[in-house]
Symmetry: C2
Subunit: 384 residues, 2 copies
């Protein structure tokens, strides 16, 4: 009973504070999501300490980002994906490569050994599909030209990040399992191709299939089962769960119920998605900001992380025109889960020290907080 009591109180406090902060940011013309991150940061264990993270909050945050990518998928057409696939891959590869090079380079210049430099590079290589999608979704810009490039590029980027990590992790342990890397790449491509194209085909050919169940909210429940199932499957074969959730959304988007399910996922989104951003904020240790030297190093690496994506991804999207290229570059800036995971594993294996790990968290927080406002301006410039 005591336990449930605390759980409820924590949920209430975080949700109310996040929404209050979101409301303030919204009124200031800033993105709501920044308010949510800051609310988590302020109430979290490293600042006020009113709410502590735990198994339950982490799980709710994961469910939140799954619901987020599912609803992003719901607004994505398979046809669009096929059209923008090559451009998205180019954007992802350029941006991740340049960011990685910057990270390894600065590690080398600072006199670090190869392995920790590689870890640092990997940690800042991958874009957070979550933050980017949320900002686009809040602006209603998922189907704008930059939106149609950023979302698939962020998904490809997530896969790339996991592949790079597999290689770097092998280097760290003294042996790279190339066969594992190849298997991971093949299974990622196969998973997406078979599931997305096959699933969409089945649902398009059998438009009444979602109406088969007689239980209440049948189509919505089948969509949820597909979302949970593909997320679990993607996670199990070594991909990120959110890739499965995104594909589930893309599949459901091919059905006639797309619009109904899009309406029904909105309240679930409103309840669960904020927890992903709140929990991200809770992970930030702001006490590190008292160390001037660390701040400077952090700001320097953050700067390179931003330049890496704006220039790398922007070059990848240059054929679309300068304004779109800039919007895409900025949209790919935010770092997230992959960076935190790489830093966490690097720390636990003794490859990165605690201070470098804090720097990675700083990169995640700053890029995530800075991007939404910038992206909003860039997108407005494109869509007018």
């Amino acid at each position: 009973m005591q336990h449930i009591d605390q759980m409820l109180f924590g949920l209430f406090l975080l949700f109310a504070a996040a929404k209050l902060a979101g409301e303030i940011f919204e009124r200031l013309g800033q993105p709501e999501v920044v308010g949510e991150i800051l609310a988590g940061l302020i109430l979290g264990p490293h600042a006020l300490g009113w709410v502590h993270s735990g198994e339950f909050l982490d799980a709710i945050a994961q469910l939140g980002v799954i619901v987020l990518l599912f609803s992003v998928g719901l607004e994505t057409q398979v046809g669009d994906l096929r059209k923008s696939g090559i451009a998205a891959t180019r954007i992802a590869v350029y941006g991740a490569t340049l960011s990685m090079l910057f990270g390894v380079g600065i590690g080398h210049l600072a006199g670090m050994a190869l392995t920790p430099s590689l870890f640092l590079g990997t940690a800042i290589a991958a874009t957070s599909a979550g933050v980017t999608s949320r900002v686009l979704s809040d602006m209603g810009a998922l189907s704008s030209r930059p939106g149609r490039l950023i979302v698939p590029a962020a998904v490809v980027d997530d896969i790339l990040g996991l592949l790079i990590f597999a290689v770097v992790y092998g280097v760290g342990r003294g042996s790279v399992h190339w066969e594992y890397v190849v298997i991971a790449l093949v299974s990622a491509v196969a998973f997406i191709a078979i599931v997305a194209i096959g699933g969409a085909y089945i649902l398009r050919e059998h438009p009444r299939i979602l109406h088969r169940p007689q239980i209440k909210e049948g189509p919505f429940i089948l969509a949820l089962i597909l979302c949970l199932g593909l997320s679990a499957l993607a996670s199990r074969i070594g991909l990120a769960a959110i890739i499965g959730a995104f594909i589930a959304g893309v599949i459901v988007a091919e059905t006639r119920e797309q619009n109904d399910i899009d309406q029904q996922i909105k309240p679930v989104y409103a309840f669960l998605v904020p927890f992903f951003f709140i929990v991200t904020g809770m992970k930030a240790d702001i006490s590190a900001f008292a160390d001037m030297h660390l701040i400077l190093v952090g700001l320097g690496i953050t700067f390179l992380a931003i330049v890496g994506k704006v220039v790398g991804c922007g070059l990848g999207a240059l054929r679309e025109g300068k304004d779109v290229a800039l919007a895409v570059g900025v949209g790919m800036v935010p770092r997230g889960e992959v960076g935190l995971i790489v830093a966490g594993i690097g720390l636990s294996q003794g490859i990165l020290d605690a201070r470098l790990c804090t720097v990675v968290v700083m990169v995640v927080i700053i890029t995530t907080i800075v991007t939404p406002s910038l992206l909003k301006r860039c997108i407005t410039r494109v869509t007018g």
Copy 2:
């Protein structure tokens, strides 16, 4: 990562199985909720063992029952509550008293000491507001005459159950803290009166208040914050969280947005509520059913638990006519959380032995599985 992987897989498996079982039951003309309980029972740790309960599942189940009672509250009018308050209290008191007497009596006849007998009585005294509300909601019978009596009676019953437990727990420890019991009773009544009547008054006088926020889904988010906040508050002052959730629903029902919010809570309900019933099923240890003697004792006590509510609550509702009285009596039969909590504490304090504890779980499972079909028939007889 491993952790999230297992969490997602467990969620997927439980949700898919519960909905499949629910669909089968629905097609057989039986209540969907029974399928959900059985799915949990079969996949759970005591049968197939494919999914194990843990902090996260327990918390999701609690969120589920909170959303359930919130949406029941949303379909309840404050005016109705005021009208049926006295009848509901009479129904709750008669039913809980008779069930308690049966429990204590059978303990006495079996040669048990006073304290364990009192624990047994308490464990079978309180109705589960969750099961009853879910069945009424599935049938669309929340606003039928029996529905309007059963829901408030189940809420009063929950408060009664907690009060009785406070007394019995004191007896078990050798001293009853009557001042605690009085404080609990007063705070329960004050909480409900102040919050429900005051909150509903404020929202009725300021009909635009829910539209103040500029963030997306503003009114729905304010309603969720109210629901989480009152649940946490009710839980903190020693009431059940679901009482706070119910009152939050009753308050929101007074606003113009009642209809919109009712529509928006439905998808959240579809996702979260089943987990409450799945987790209830997972707690059942069916290996106990191999012990013939235990089965007979369990069936005997279950029989008395059913008679206690049908006769007790039926007598309390007799002025409404025989058919309504029968429906109310049957509707109050299911036992749930309170019984499991009392049995759990009795076991951990060495007052109840493990076998008697299993009997209480048996009462919970059987009454919960048996009631929905019976209630469906009784309600149909009343509403025609």
